[in-house]
Assembly symmetry: C2
Homo-oligomer: 327 residues x 2
């Protein structure tokens, strides 16, 4: 099918850039050195491509993502890299399930929900989830006393991964991982899980890297000069042309907006409305033209769309359901 046959807005994945990204990452981080994060794409068909690139361990951010991956037969080693208080849906899964815990309450929830394995989630500098490093050992003891297998630790340097200056990223990753290693020495286990696309080749302390954005990329990560290419676009149709501007049919419900406006090559984006993008093109466009819009943040963009279309040139080669949306 030609992309001109797609109703707009439509999520496009440039197959060449996507394949490049998977190849570049799997050459840098082979097999289980990478634990791809499915939250970035929420798509089991895309995850199957990551399996084909050699990665069979995954991490998820929601119970729904865990359920969908298990159902798709991708449950060889699933980590819910997030805290939950009702783990019953996890205990029921036909998959190897590990869940992050950072408090006595989440340890109890894991045990009560029938989960068998946990990682101790450690705060390494980002004010979000994770216990203080010096409490990790005690939490591991509690988990083991409840019959849980403690596989190790995780600690996400989320305050570091987006810093544009590489030397600063390197220094702050080391500082964060010092904390995680200290916690690991108290916890034990084989796993030290950390990192993201922005630190995938910097974080050499972790045994596995939780990167997700690398596969599709966005304009926020594009500032970091990583070897990954922009593979994700929103196809839109010009529906109206005004004096010095034009309007396309992709808006606030087609783009995650927390990192700012999406961008259009050769144009200045003025503003985004619910179903409209008003932009000033540098060369004239006409009603009916198709444009490609680059999202500022991949994860909350994908979460708005029911499907994504893999394209080579102007040809749609595959259509994938974004089947891990919701909670």
């Amino acid at each position: 099918m030609d992309i001109s046959a797609l109703a707009t807005p439509a999520l496009l994945v440039d197959a060449e850039a996507f394949d490049h990204n998977l190849r570049a990452m799997s050459e840098a981080l082979r097999g289980p050195r990478l634990r791809p994060h499915v939250k970035a794409h929420k798509c089991t068909a895309l995850a199957a491509r990551q399996v084909a690139a050699g990665h069979v361990t995954f991490c998820c951010a929601t119970v729904r993502e865990m359920e969908g991956m298990a159902k798709a037969g991708l449950g060889e080693d699933l980590l819910l890299a997030n805290e939950v208080l009702d783990a019953r849906r996890l205990g029921d899964l036909d998959a190897r399930v590990t869940v992050a815990v950072d408090s006595p309450e989440t340890v109890h929830a894991a045990a009560d929900g029938g989960v068998k394995e946990v990682l101790i989630d450690v705060n390494v500098g980002l004010p979000r989830c994770g216990c203080p490093p010096d409490e990790a050992g005690r939490l591991a003891d509690l988990a083991r006393s409840k019959g849980l297998e403690v596989r190790g630790v995780m600690g996400y340097e989320g305050h570091v991964v987006g810093l544009p200056e590489r030397t600063l990223r390197e220094q702050l990753t080391k500082d964060a991982m010092d904390k995680l290693i200290a916690a690991h020495s108290q916890v034990g286990g084989d796993v030290i899980s950390a990192g993201g696309t922005g630190t995938y080749d910097i974080n050499t302390w972790a045994t596995e890297i939780q990167a997700g954005s690398y596969a599709l990329m966005d304009t926020a990560y594009a500032h970091l000069e990583l070897p990954f290419r922009q593979a994700l676009f929103v196809l839109a149709t010009v529906i109206s042309v005004g004096q010095g501007y034009a309007v396309a049919d992709a808006g606030l419900k087609a783009f995650g907006m927390d990192h700012g406006n999406p961008t259009v090559e050769g144009a200045e984006v003025w503003f985004v409305s619910d179903e409209h993008l008003t932009f000033a093109p540098s060369s004239p466009v006409k009603v009916g033209d198709r444009i490609r819009v680059t999202p500022a943040h991949v994860d909350p963009t994908v979460a708005y769309h029911e499907r994504m279309h893999l394209i080579i040139g102007d040809r749609v080669t595959e259509t994938w359901e974004v089947d891990l949306r919701g909670w």
Copy 2:
């Protein structure tokens, strides 16, 4: 069902505030004086409540919304208040369908798609869709020459509806409607469709007001001192507690972020991640507590959720599918 049984994040509609909003609006704008905009809620069950309040004409922003409303038997008079270049799905609907047109291309698309009625969309100051006022008459002539019934004009004063100062809203609404009235004199027809929640009682020039946000409301519209109450919340669970902050399980995929962060009463929101909200509560919270988060922008918030739960106090009285999502 008690709301404590809901998995989080979950979209809540406070029934008392919602009923108040519907009553306040239908007392101000009776029957067809209001054409509720379904883009704000994307929910046919909610639209059915608007019908019960006396409004049977609706406007939509997408073809999918039009299809869903028709399928739900709410197609007595549906306006697609947006431009489309492929109107074939509209021509097939079992409903009275009117579509906005602002160019020869969109007139031809409407005729080719089997649509029978149009409104001439006029630019009244917002740089988005709409033809220049002095081209409206010519476009109406073209539409009639193609066999289309021209019902009148529409022109959205979207640059005005959110201005906090009422006197300025009044003045700029008048300026915008002067343009629309001038265009209407060239176009003819019975309909002058305009307005929004921010100008619902100011815009006395339009024959019908296209308001949507009034039913659920958000923090952006709350600044305008309108008689509508906040009815929409996201229920979240505290999953982690740190030093001076806590983390709840509702993030970028649960909130439209273009108007900034959502808010939590009695707390300062620090930042929002994909599935997390980090906030500093003014009084201590503990892991497992439930909090209510108020979205900054209703429309792109609702579009992330599969369903919304109508609540009275802590009791869920109904659950509605958000069945008009996608395109």
